[in-house]
């Protein structure tokens, strides 16, 4: 009951938030649109090149992850601490274990996002592939789950997750035949937020890389 009351109250009181004016400036906007379009060269239709199959992406992703794991083991060397040693350490508190679990989940997630973004930037036709968008959609869902979990309580990580949410949402929404400028917009977002650099600086040294 209280929930319903709150929803009703919220709808009523939030209605004023950014309430649009009753009069929409139709003609002024139309004039601006026609002026802008007239001043630009005719748009080039998006090219329809050969598409990369989802299988190729799956294979590429598997190879990347495999290579990353192999590299991780190689970099750790023979003297690295093994899981058995870790297990013999004094018992940690519940909160410490929970925190460590979310840390590991976050790092694993970030390596996957790094792999996706790297693949996206390397292939100019990436947005046309269904597998790429599906992959981005899955990672977008995971990003949001992490944002709502204790993993999102760390301020720096939360900022990174929010930026990733923004970039992944753009990739998910890319039209298969989107013009190059749309793709460039996503690239710019990746560059502007320095997403890849920040991901790489968050992933601990020796952790299997996503690329």
């Amino acid at each position: 009951m209280s929930e319903e009351r709150f929803e009703a109250w919220l709808k009523e009181h939030a209605a004023d938030y950014h309430r649009p004016p009753a009069e929409v400036p139709r003609n002024e906007m139309w004039d601006a649109i026609t002026r802008t379009r007239a001043a630009r060269p005719a748009p080039v239709a998006g090219h329809i090149g050969s598409r990369i199959s989802p299988v190729r992406y799956a294979i590429a992703a598997s190879l990347l992850i495999g290579a990353g794991i192999g590299l991780g083991y190689w970099m750790r060397g023979p003297d690295a601490v093994t899981p058995a040693v870790v297990a013999s350490l004094p018992a940690a508190t519940d909160s410490a274990i929970r925190s460590a679990t979310y840390d590991v989940a976050s790092v694993q997630h970030l390596t996957a996002v790094e792999a996706l973004l790297t693949s996206f930037r390397k292939d100019e036709r990436a947005e046309s592939d269904v597998a790429m968008r599906r992959w981005a959609r899955d990672l977008l869902a995971s990003t949001r789950l992490l944002m709502d979990s204790p993993a999102g309580e760390v301020a720096s990580r939360r900022q990174l997750l929010e930026d990733l949410e923004y970039v992944l949402a753009q990739i998910v929404q890319l039209d298969p035949n989107a013009p190059a400028e749309d793709r460039a917009m996503v690239d710019r977002a990746i560059n502007r937020e320095q997403v890849l650099t920040r991901i790489r600086s968050t992933i601990p040294a020796g952790f299997p890389s996503g690329t």
């Binding site: 004023d16 239709a45 929404q173």
Partner: protein, 198 residues
């Protein structure tokens, strides 16, 4: 998005029927200015309303609306009719608006941070913003995904299925985002609980 649906709170402009809209699209692709204007007239109110809800500023809402239509007309030959023209257009509009406001907010945050640092000693710490300000600020502070769903559902009357199509998410995700948005607002506004409990 269902054709002919009227937004609960949105402008009461009926969408054109699919047959005539399909003809309009074909003519617009051929460069017929009258067809382009007709498509514009049929959808501009809702696009502008969405842009305004996101931006909260007339100039920005105009810019976003114009940009959305320019992109839509440029891309019209690639419109595949898998969704309705309206859904396709609103997807472009939301993308333009959310990306635009994101960039602007980043700039403003930096400016505000500087201003805040300069005026730290002058701030009135006893100032207690009223409920409306707190509510609006709380909406402003929602994560972008939550905010977009909240604006579209609670303020503009879109269904979760429509929101899912426009934002490229599952309708279940839209419901979850709305639930979380409301929960967060309720938490932030807990001081004012008497307002809705009474």
């Amino acid at each position: 998005m269902s054709e002919g649906r009227l937004s609960k709170r949105g402008a009461e402009v009926p969408e054109p029927d699919p047959v005539s809209e399909s003809q309009l699209i074909a003519r617009a692709i051929e460069g017929d200015p009258a067809a382009q204007r007709a498509l514009y007239d049929a959808h501009v109110d809702r696009v502008y309303r969405l842009a305004y809800r996101v931006a909260g500023d007339d100039d920005l809402a105009r810019d976003f609306t114009q940009e959305a239509f320019i992109r839509a007309f440029d891309r019209l030959p690639t419109f595949r009719r898998e969704a309705s023209f309206g859904t396709w257009l609103y997807t472009i509009a939301m993308s333009v608006a959310l990306n635009g406001i994101r960039s602007i907010r980043r700039l403003r945050t930096r400016e505000v941070a500087l201003d805040a640092a300069e005026s730290l000693g002058r701030r009135d710490r006893n100032a207690d913003p009223d409920l409306k300000d707190r509510l609006h600020r709380a909406i402003e502070d929602l994560p972008p995904g939550y905010r977009a769903v909240f604006l579209m559902h609670d303020l503009e009357g879109y269904t979760h299925e429509e929101i899912g199509e426009v934002l490229g998410i599952q309708s279940g995700t839209s419901k979850a985002q709305l639930f979380r948005a409301r929960a967060r607002l309720r938490e932030v506004l807990a001081d004012f609980a008497g307002a809705w409990i009474a």
